[in-house]
């Protein structure tokens, strides 16, 4: 059924449309619109339009979504999965600000368009009476038009026509529309539309699920099981020998380790090695602790060779013999490091500093038990 929508009038220049819009507004019409091929500055003033309320929608939407985002981030960081990241507090506001800013801008922009579509253009309705009319063709190329809607309280067909021609319109059309086709009522909560949206959402979800999990066996998340890195003891196709771990370059020295140069050369150690640590109280205390742990079971608490082994293992010799007294610090260090006869080397278990501390402690014991005349004075 076709029904009258509006009387549409065409004008030729922007100046004409400015004065025409002002006259239409002055005549007291409320339901009318002006269509121009490009934005004409000052038209809103001529039409006496109130300023748009869209800005308020935008700020309300933006601030609401910003608050929701802030709450969501709070919930993630403080409630659901509290975790200290980078030494920051659990609620690191400065880190949230960029996200809040982006969310405000994004939702403000996108949802403003959505609100505009739903409230002003009555989405999902996508037809308008002016579509497909010769009037619309004219105003979307190079003409300027006013159309006064039939629902206006002051509308009467002949009167409006006469009025429009009196303000200088060069062409006046009646615009009809089909009520079946154009529905100007809100349809967003229409049951058909809502059910249709749910059907689309359900179909999309189910098909994505089937596609990803059943058809392709492509898990959306592998929970970090697969990582593009070579793990320890792993096979690697990249290297020729197929081993993922690399051997260090010849001559590399690990951090904190000093290579021992005299492993087969006790005389060299005797001549060249000098105790780098001063036998102060702290060093000797360290040496005593380590000596009592590692050396005393065989050599005895005072290094007299009186061990607690009671013959179950060859007794360690005394460390107060003339041979030991004549040895240099380096020689003793060599024996602790590499071992001698049945004594094992201790370089794996006792660090370099501790070995030198033991040497200092042995020297202390020797001096205490084998004191010379000079020491007594």
């Amino acid at each position: 059924m076709s029904k009258l929508y509006s009387i549409a009038a065409l004008f030729k220049t922007p100046d004409e449309i400015m004065s025409a819009a002002a006259k239409v507004a002055d005549a007291g019409y409320e339901k009318y619109d002006v269509n121009t091929p490009y934005p004409v500055h000052g038209l809103d003033g001529a039409m006496k339009l109130k300023s748009s309320k869209m800005g308020y929608y935008t700020i309300v939407i933006g601030l609401t979504c910003m608050s929701l985002m802030l709450y969501f981030m709070y919930w993630v960081y403080n409630v659901d999965y509290p975790q200290v990241i980078g030494g920051k507090p659990l609620f690191p506001l400065p880190a949230f600000v960029p996200i809040m800013f982006e969310i405000t801008v994004l939702t403000g922009a996108v949802l403003t368009v959505a609100v505009m579509l739903i409230f002003y253009f009555k989405f999902p309705n996508n037809a308008h009476p002016l579509h497909d009319s010769s009037y619309m063709k004219a105003v979307s190329s190079d003409k300027f038009g006013v159309n006064i809607e039939a629902v206006d309280s002051k509308f009467d067909l002949e009167g409006v026509k006469a009025f429009l021609s009196s303000i200088g319109a060069y062409q006046i059309d009646e615009i009809y529309f089909d009520e079946e086709e154009v529905n100007t009522k809100h349809k967003i909560l229409d049951s058909k539309f809502v059910i249709g949206m749910f059907l689309i959402a359900g179909f999309t979800s189910i098909s994505v699920y089937l596609h990803m999990n059943k058809a392709l066996y492509l898990p959306p998340f592998d929970w970090m099981l697969v990582q593009h890195k070579v793990t320890a003891q792993d096979h690697s196709d990249f290297f020729k020998n197929g081993i993922s771990s690399r051997e260090p370059v010849n001559g590399s020295v690990a951090r904190g380790f000093m290579p021992y140069l005299y492993s087969d050369d006790p005389d060299g150690a005797s001549e060249n090695l000098v105790n780098p640590y001063i036998a102060d109280e702290e060093n000797i205390a360290l040496g005593k602790r380590k000596y009592l742990t590692y050396c005393s079971p065989c050599h005895g608490d005072l290094a007299k060779g009186d061990s607690r082994l009671r013959g179950q293992f060859p007794n360690g010799p005394t460390l107060h013999s003339d041979k030991l007294l004549s040895w240099t610090d380096g020689r003793i260090y060599h024996v602790i490091t590499e071992g001698q006869n049945v004594m094992p080397g201790y370089k794996k278990t006792v660090t370099r500093k501790e070995r030198w501390a033991i040497v200092n402690y042995v020297r202390t014991l020797q001096r205490a038990l084998d004191a010379t005349e000079e020491d007594m004075q």
Binding site: D15, S19, G42, G45, S51, G87, P94, A95
Partner: protein, 400 residues
């Protein structure tokens, strides 16, 4: 888009008396306070002097930038205010008045001006090719001379256009504005680094120049807006200047209010995130001893309140609301400069917490006096409208 041809009938009119009536006493009070302040407490006076200098550079150099911006962008709407901006740029000539006491007092304020300190400090030693007294003098004088040159070129071209109405002048202005932009960018960065950032010579922030520039633009625009509104009320300008023009001025202030926050927050967040002692130590004094309230207040005073004041479309069009916002932005810029400079005064003088007294008030009075008096000197008995500009008619017929 109106169908009648605009006729420009401009009659020259004297400036309102207020500029000299308020400006001169404020200037005199300012000079007297500054003099006594330098006698009694030279260090505090020097730091306040820096605040005043940064404000005057913002107003003056920012105005020259506004002129160049109009030329290089070919902007039309701002043509009726260009002469005001040019005459506002004249305020830049007051900078030596404020810079000389600082240059003579450098040892009082700048750590890097002491040779023995620099030689014993590896960071300052590394920076010494830039931060040394000779180069500092050279930069200050060079920036002043170059900016003055551009200012007088713009003023002379604009004045001559009043009679010749030549299109060629507009083209020449656009041409010289291109190199000006590059020079201005370097100059304002140097001003910010030299007079504000080098107070803490161990600190560095690449964004600091832009931070200062964002405040500069908003402040220059605010002063321009205030003068425009005042002259319009007094009838010195054309009657065609209307709310649409005001809207654009308010819009620019609004934009640069938000831009300032963007810059300030970028600087803060990166330093907060990285948490490196070399960078964070600049913010630490601003987070204790009462400065924390000023720091939080800065966000409100410089961003949230002017943002709210200018957010609405009508608030940019309504002269009285626009005036309030402009005053607020200028005040906020002084507050910002105070916040930038004064924590260093605490460190150097051993005081704790923000200080505010007659010295601060005196220097603010000095700055306001300089703005009013120098604008009066530049604009009195001159045209307030570039009546010869070929774009003027189109500019008056401006609608948003």
């Amino acid at each position: 888009m109106s169908n009648h041809e605009i006729q420009i009938n401009y009659t020259k009119k004297d400036l309102p008396k207020g500029y000299l009536k308020f400006g001169l006493p404020l200037l005199v009070i300012g000079i007297i306070t500054a003099f006594f302040a330098y006698q009694l407490d030279p260090m505090r006076a020097s730091f306040n002097n820096i605040i005043s200098l940064l404000l005057i550079v913002s107003v003056g150099m920012g105005a020259i930038f506004l002129v160049a911006l109009e030329h290089i962008a070919g902007a039309v709407w701002s043509v009726p205010f260009r002469r005001i901006a040019e005459q506002q740029g004249f305020i830049f000539l007051a900078t030596p008045l404020l810079a000389l006491p600082i240059l003579f007092n450098m040892h009082e304020i700048f750590e890097w001006a002491h040779l023995d300190v620099v030689m014993n400090d590896p960071i300052l030693y590394q920076k010494s090719p830039y931060l040394n007294t000779e180069f500092f003098y050279a930069r200050s004088i060079g920036i002043f001379l170059i900016m003055t040159f551009f200012l007088f070129v713009y003023l002379r071209n604009s004045m001559s256009q009043d009679t010749t109405q030549s299109q060629k002048t507009t083209k020449i202005n656009a041409l010289i504005s291109a190199p000006f932009m590059a020079i201005f960018a370097i100059s304002i960065t140097m001003v910010a680094i030299d007079y504000a950032m080098s107070l803490e010579p161990h600190w560095f922030s690449t964004i600091f120049g832009v931070y200062y520039f964002s405040g500069t633009f908003a402040t220059a625009m605010a002063v321009l807006t205030l003068i425009t509104l005042n002259l319009k009320e007094n009838g010195n300008l054309l009657k065609e200047i209307n709310r649409n023009h005001y809207y654009s001025m308010g819009g620019l202030m609004f934009a640069f209010t938000a831009f300032w926050m963007y810059m300030a927050f970028s600087q803060y967040m990166l330093i907060w995130y990285a948490n490196i002692p070399e960078e964070t130590f600049w913010f630490l004094p601003r987070m204790k001893n009462g400065w924390e309230y000023l720091s939080i207040g800065l966000v409100f005073i410089k961003f949230i309140i002017p943002f709210g004041l200018l957010l609405n479309r009508n608030s940019k069009m309504d002269p009285s609301r626009l005036k309030l916002a402009s005053f607020w932005i200028i005040g906020a810029h002084i507050y910002d400069m105070y916040w930038l400079v004064m924590p260093t005064y605490n460190r150097m003088s051993g005081t704790e917490g923000p200080v505010f007294g007659w010295i601060e008030l005196g220097f603010i009075s000095l700055s306001v006096g300089i703005i009013l008096v120098f604008y009066y000197l530049a604009a009195n008995k001159k045209n307030h409208i570039p009546i010869g500009d070929p774009k003027l008619k189109r500019a008056l017929d401006f609608q948003i």
